[in-house]
Structures are given as C-alpha cells and as structure tokens.
C-alpha cells in the first residue's frame, strides 16, 4: 500500500487492511462512505460508541468492513430490525444503518416504514441507485418507468417509490434527499441525523455506472454526477412546480425536521419510572 498518500479519514476511521473500496470504479457508495466519515469527524464522535448495521447489496458494504467500529452486516432487508434490537438494548450507542433501494424499499420495505413509525433513534442512509447492482442489474422498486433492465427487457411497466414521501408519511423525525453530487449538503444532513433523537432517513440518489449506466447509456460516472446536478430541484422550488414539470427531476432537500421523543428514550423513561 502506498502509505504516503493515505487519506486522513482512512487513517483515522478505517479498519486496517480494508482501505480499498470493494465497489466498482466510479460507484457512488464510496462517496457516501466518505461523507459519513467526514460527518463523524466534524462532530468529533467516538467510533467505539457507534454501531453500523447494514443488509445485503452493494450499499451494505459501505461500513463493512471499511469502518473501524462495531459493524453488523446482516441479512437482506432486515438491517433496521437488527438495529432496533441494538438501539433499544444499549441506547448509549449511536446506530447508523446503511441500506439500498432493493434492501429497504423491496424486501425490507415493511421494516423501513415500521422503524419510521416507531421513531426509533436510528440514522438510516439509503443509497438509491435505482437498480439491483450486486445481482447483475435487475429492475428495482425505484427503477423509473420505462427503463429497460435485465428483467424488464421491454421497459419497466411499474412506477418507482418516492421513498422520502413514504418515510415521512410513516412518521420519521428527519427526512432528506440528496445525490452523490451534493456531498456538502449530504455531510450536513448526516450530522443532523447523527444527532437527531428520533428516526432519521437520508436518501442518496447514487450512480451505478456499471449496471444502471449500461441500461440508460451513460457509463461515465462523472457524467452521471453532472446530470444529477442538472436535474436536481430544491424542495422549496419544487413546491411551485407541476407534476409534469417535475417529470425526470430529482427533488432534493430536507423534507422533515421535527422533534418527537424516540422509542429508546421513551423506553428508558418507562424503565426508570418502574425501577425507582
């Protein structure tokens, strides 16, 4: 390993021997990983008091094995349920879940809305690349209408979820969406989510140059980032736009930021009351 040029965030927060990202060249997951490490660094948080949980899929390899902390790499779609057990059992620990659109919008969809409803103090970062990358490019519940994939060779007949609206309706305390182009806003949202005393959800629209890129004819990750910048519309501006005007756009920003007692705290209060 080239020791002279190791990124300070890796030196400080990465597991030794795990510096090399397991993702494809140009994948957005590494950008999201870096943003999380930066958020932790800026808040000066103790990595020994954070548990990172993830499920199955490319984005679930963001903390596993890179982050030098307690990491729980779980089964497909279930990371939020595992994380709920961790958070309730030791409320002193900050719990962060990395998940993907297949992981938490399809197989684990119920766990996502239930965790939001419970308002359990977990920060969920959902990396949405709009396709099943790890398994080879099959259609996802986030794939836009009409897009051809390995399993929609004649175009996607279904419509994608608006995950932020879904999670907002389910009761989350913090909801935001950014793209991998908007790294500074993402770091700022992650910092809010890490400190939030309720369920926090950040959707990151991310590039998959290898699978999704092949199907939509854009294999250059940089070009995808430029497109993200171009088609992103701030939440405030989007409010005054029609459905037609918003077609093909990504609405970015903070959608929800409220204070409501989280489940782990509520449970601790109950235990204190019962064990006076």
């Amino acid at each position: 390993m080239d020791q002279k040029h190791v990124h300070p965030l890796l030196v400080k927060y990465a597991r030794i021997g795990a510096y090399k990202q397991p993702h494809c060249p140009g994948c957005g997951n590494g950008i999201v990983a870096q943003c999380m490490l930066r958020a932790i660094d800026e808040l000066k948080l103790d990595m020994d008091k954070i548990v990172f949980a993830s499920g199955i899929g490319c984005s679930s390899w963001i903390p596993s094995p890179l982050f030098n902390a307690d990491v729980l790499h779980t089964t497909h779609g279930r990371s939020l349920a595992f994380a709920t057990g961790v958070k309730l059992s030791n409320p002193e620990l900050r719990v962060v879940v990395f998940t993907g659109d297949g992981d938490s919008a399809a197989i684990g969809g119920n766990h996502l809305i239930q965790a939001a409803r419970k308002n359990i103090e977990i920060l969920t970062v959902l990396v949405n690349n709009r396709i099943y990358g790890m398994t080879g490019g099959q259609v996802a519940p986030t794939t836009p209408h009409g897009v051809k994939t390995k399993t929609t060779p004649y175009g996607n007949l279904e419509y994608p979820f608006d995950l932020c609206k879904l999670v907002e309706a389910a009761g989350a305390s913090y909801v935001a969406r950014w793209t991998t182009f908007h790294t500074r806003q993402l770091v700022s949202s992650m910092k809010k989510g890490l400190l939030k005393k309720g369920f926090s959800f950040i959707e990151v629209i991310s590039q998959c140059p290898v699978q999704y890129g092949t199907f939509v004819g854009i294999r250059d990750p940089a070009e995808m980032l430029h497109i993200f910048r171009k088609i992103s519309v701030p939440f405030e501006k989007a409010k005054n736009m029609s459905r037609e005007e918003l077609e093909g756009k990504i609405v970015i920003g903070e959608f929800v930021d409220i204070e409501r007692t989280g489940l782990a705290e509520a449970y601790q209060r109950l235990l204190e009351m019962m064990n006076l």
């Binding site: 548990v51 307690d70 729980l72 790499h73 595992f82 709920t84 057990g85 030791n90």
Partner: protein, 385 residues
Amino acid sequence: MSSGANKIIEPGTHFLMGNEACALGAVVAGCKFFAFYPITPANEIAEYMSVLLPKVKGIYIQMEDEISSIASVIGASWAGRKAMTATSGPGFTLMQENIGYAVATETPCVIVDVQRCGPSTGTPPLPMQGDVYQAKYGSHSEYPIIALAPSSVKEMFTLTIESFNLAEKYRTPVILLSDALVGHLMETFEIPDLSQIEIVERKKPDKETSDAKYFLDEDVAPMPVFGCGYKAHVTGSTHDEKGLRNVEDPVYVDKVVRALHRKIEKHKENIVKVETKFLDDAEIALLTYGSVARTAIHVVNQARKTGIKVGIIRLITLWPFPDVQVQSAARKTGRIVVMENNLGQVVNKVSEVAAKYADVKFLPPRIIGSLHEPEYVINFLKEVY
C-alpha cells in the same frame, strides 16, 4: 447485568400455564430482551414477558413480523443482552433465515417454538410435533443446532433456563421445542431458591487487541459485544476468525462449516440430556419426547402391571441427537417403539443410529394432533411383545 428476578419471583409452589412458566424461566435466566409477533399458541409467553421485563430493566418489543423479531433479538444479543423470542410453526418458518444468521455469527439467543398443527395455518390451538426437522434443517445449508423438548410446565421453566445457559455457553441459538399442549397446560411446580439455579454468562474478551479472534473457535471464542471498543465485525458472509468477510478463498467455507459443527459436536456430551426409567430389565423401550412423553409414562406404569417389561427413554435434547443414549437403550432392550405426535420424524433418526441393535417401530397417535390413548398404546405393546 443481574437478572433482578429475585425482586419479582418468589420461590415455592406455583400453579401456572406452561407458557407463563417459560416467561418466568427466561427472567430467572437473565433474559433482558424479548421480541415477539402475535401467534397462537405462544401469546401467553409474550403477554407475561411484557409485564415482567420492565420490572427487571428488560425490554419487551412487539415487532412487525417474526423475521424482525428474531432479527432484533440477534441485535440485542450483540448489544450485550440475553435475548429471546417465541413463536409457533408459521412464525418459526419465517425466522429460519435469521436463525441461520445467528448460527453463522455465533449469536447466543433463545427461540421458543410452541408447535401447533400444520401444514400451513393448520389448527393453531392443537399440538403437534411437526417441527423437529425444521428445527434442525429449516435454514439453508449445513449447520448445527441445539433443540430441547419440554414435557411439563416445570420443564417449560427449567429448560428455558437451560436453553439460555447453553446459548450463552456455546454462542449459539437454542430452540425450545414445546407444543400447544405443554404451552397451554396448567400444573403446579416448585421454583427453588433462585440462588440454587445455575446461570451461565457469556465469555467476553479479556482485552482489546486488534488481532483478537472472536469467531470459529471450536472451544467457543469470547464474544466482542458492541460498545466496548472491540470494533467487532459481524457478518453472515463466509468469514475468518476475526469475523472479516472472505468470499474469495473457498477454504473459508470449509473452515466456517466445520468449526461451527465441531463447536457443538465436541461438547455434545455436556449438552445432551435424556431421561430413562425402568430400562434395566426392559424388553421394550418406549422412546418419546415433549408432550407425548406424558402419555408414555402413564402407559409404562400400566403396562408393567400387566407384565409387559417396558421402559422409557425420553429425549430432553432433540438436537444434537442423543445417538449414544439411544444406542444404549437399543442394546439393552432390542426393541424400540418410538411415540411421536406426527407421521414419523425422530423415528427416522432413531432408525439411523439404532436399527442394527434393535427392532425399531413407530407409533403415531390414532388421530394426528391428539394424544395417544393409553389403551391404544398398550394394545400396540402387547402386539409387539
């Protein structure tokens, strides 16, 4: 974390339902996290746990399904708590993937399966012993499991404690394979002074070292619970002794499969328990477990009065299978009659290990899902005798 059970549980005679005794046993064992999804006939365990746990600083949570129940139990275990879930057939099926995860990640936890009649939705309140193989082979691939079968309300208490002890000692999920009969049965039983009950705590690492080996030790590696600076890496992917994923080298598949298997196999002698009665002069051995053993004990007493020299071997441990003990009973008697409330599950395993020493016969109840009538069993024994 002290169990705190002595604050809320009095020693002495109790008159309780099996499911309630299970909840008490869990609290005595130090259970501090219980997750559940409603299902008949396991509900009373959860209802009682929701009352008891907050009194001992434990957490009760009702999850959105059985998948998330077992998932949160595994998370709680890694966060340092003794943890349990309870369910019945359909829910047990949903839990299988994460039970495999618990085995692979060496996560101590207890799963109570109060078996009911199937297949599918079946008849929820009726007992059946249909999940014996699901307990062992329900999750995919190759893995060991520990499963215990309680026969009484008292054993719903003692074997729940034993399940926790085995889970914590061997860092493995343990299945308490009860059924609707034992779960809903009401009996009196004695709770001894709690200080007399052996409670096992998991082994934790001595110091924080970056090269510490926390997995794949056949003598059970210490468990690097979260929040203590161990920087644990826990994954259901094929991994090395440090827990780090290795899906490149097929040797690690072999390592994981064998190490998990040896961890249980090597300690089988300390895990396996059976109960025998009247075997010394017996010419037939009745082999039973769980609720069916209750009829068997009654039958043996009756049959002996009529001159049939019959004894009993009751399996308390179903998995790992008590092959040595079954073979010994086979050698002694030369004839084994296996009684189960199904169309033949344990009998296959008995035949596999004991057929060369004894004639193995199977006796299901006349009506599956109901008890064997004593008369029906005695008539069968007379024919065999």
